[in-house]
């Protein structure tokens, strides 16, 4: 298992965190390469189904990042998202679907390239600590 590297899906808001990733790149900040980015128009666009789908397909971690509350391009999208995330994370951990350390949320503006790289490193570290996801991965159905 020593050469195992986690696969992480990052849902990044187009107006901030996605730009921050860009900035981190052009600024040559180092962060681990385990992240696959899916650009979304707003963190409010995140449907819990997306996160479950990612885990069902076998990712080891999911990271959602949007604009700081109050800075939403659509004024209040991330305010709604915030409530959704709070419930989602606690429910996912409560039902044991997602172990602590696999699901991450952050607010990163497009100017925060450093924060993006740091958060990315932190996310990868914690997913690594959680180990490979095994229990919620959709495999061949156990049927007759």
């Amino acid at each position: 298992m020593s050469d195992w590297e986690p696969r992480i899906i990052a849902f990044l808001c187009n107006w901030c965190s996605y730009g921050a990733a860009d900035l981190a790149g052009v600024s040559r900040f180092q962060y681990p390469p385990n992240i696959r980015v899916i650009r979304v128009p707003c963190s409010g666009r995140i449907n819990p189904k997306f996160i479950l789908a990612a885990f069902r397909h076998g990712v080891d971690g999911v990271w959602v990042s949007g604009c700081h509350p109050g800075d939403c391009h659509y004024i209040e999208g991330n305010f709604y998202a915030r409530r959704k995330f709070a419930l989602l994370k606690s429910q996912l951990e409560y039902t044991g679907i997602v172990e602590p350390g696999r699901l991450h949320f952050s607010w990163i503006s497009s100017a925060e390239g450093t924060k993006f790289a740091e958060t990315a490193s932190h996310v990868v570290e914690s997913v690594k600590a959680a180990g490979p996801a095994q229990h919620f991965v959709k495999k061949q159905a156990e049927v007759a």
Binding site: K138, K139, Q140, A141, V143, A144
Partner: protein, 350 residues
């Protein structure tokens, strides 16, 4: 083969002998309910049950079944070509099945095993299964098998009939398959002797079961007249359109076929489906011939109690096991609905 007796002490031994030769399925208590399960040991079998919560139809028509498998790997020369999934069709025994459920499989045969088309999985499972039925001596208040052309001691579809006679079981072989299992267990049995109190017991059991409705009266009615009856409006009101009734029913066989892919391996699965679900009839175009609840509720009852009778010129596709009566969250009672359908003006006295 003459009737035999197996004492209570010898019964576990007899099951053991069957388990050496067959895969033996029997009622096993799980939580509050019983279900038919593959026996791992003799002690699991619990014949002191009234009936299983789910019908044993899953043993022949599993809730989800892998029909075919295939590879979708680019480099595979057979990519996308379906192959039959391997299955265990070794001989098996279903021990303790109730006569109503065995009868249900005979009704289902009309669908799965026809002159022209045979469902391969159904047919193979039916052929390799020996059914040891357990006569029903304490029917539930929701049972109405006698109205549906079967009964607590009905032998239809069974290979052996067991009757609990207190100190043990009396067993009667009904088919060659049945004779064979009784021969295998002959070390545990003794001749039954002349007088077995089966007729008395049968009568006592049948007397406990009330008359629900007369399916023949439904058969005689005009299909479209029943279909257009205003009575459906009242029947359907409470229905939630869940699939509980259809999933617990031994004669609800409708299924869906779905493909599932994980990485580059795919399966074609068949799954229980239900006429209660709107998706059941939804066309690709968005048109749905049964888009309303009333249509779906009517379809379930009409299919069981009218269409099946007309199509096969037989009794209804219902054996009166009463499972749907017990499972329905809103107490839609097929006995009441059947009574409505059978009465001249589709009214109900209950």
């Amino acid at each position: 083969m003459p009737d035999i007796r197996i004492s209570k002490e010898n019964f576990p031994g007899a099951i053991k002998q069957l388990m050496d030769r067959y895969r033996v399925f029997a009622p096993v208590k799980k939580g509050r309910f019983h279900e038919f399960a593959l026996l791992q040991n003799v002690e699991q079998a619990d014949l002191g049950f009234s009936n299983t919560l789910l019908s044993p139809k899953g043993l022949f028509h599993p809730q989800a079944e892998r029909m075919f498998e295939y590879s979708l790997a680019r480099e595979d020369p057979n990519a996308g070509i379906l192959k039959e999934a391997q299955k265990d069709f070794s001989p098996r025994v279903i021990l303790g099945i109730r006569p109503c459920d065995a009868k249900a499989f005979e009704l289902d045969d009309a669908n799965f095993n026809t002159e022209s088309i045979k469902d391969p999985w159904w047919v193979q499972r039916r052929e390799t299964t020996t059914m040891i039925g357990l006569a029903c001596e304490s029917p539930c208040s929701t049972c109405f098998c006698t109205s549906m052309g079967t009964g607590p001691f009905d032998t239809a579809g069974l290979d052996v009939l067991l009757v609990n006679i207190g100190e043990g079981y009396a067993a009667r072989a009904l088919t060659e398959k049945g004779t064979k299992v009784l021969e295998i267990t002959s070390g545990c049995s003794s001749p039954a002797g002349d007088h077995l109190p089966l007729a008395e017991r049968q009568q006592a059991a049948e007397q406990r079961i009330g008359t629900a409705f007369d399916p023949a009266a439904i058969a005689k009615k005009e299909m479209l007249e029943l279909y257009n009856s205003p009575a459906w409006e009242e029947v359907q009101f409470a229905c939630l359109n869940c699939g509980a009734c259809t999933f617990v029913c031994p004669t609800c066989w409708c299924f869906d076929i779905q493909d599932e892919v994980c990485a580059d391996k795919g399966d074609r699965l068949r799954l229980w489906d239900s006429c209660m679900f709107p998706l059941f009839t939804l066309h690709g175009s968005g048109h749905n011939p049964r888009s309303n609840k009333i249509q779906r509720v009517r379809q379930r009852f009409m299919h069981k109690l009218k269409y099946y009778q007309d199509k096969y010129n037989s009794g209804p596709a219902c054996v009166g096991c009463g499972r749907c009566v017990q499972a329905c969250p809103v107490n839609i009672d097929i006995r009441q609905v059947g009574q409505k359908m059978a009465s001249p003006d589709c009214s109900c006295s209950i």
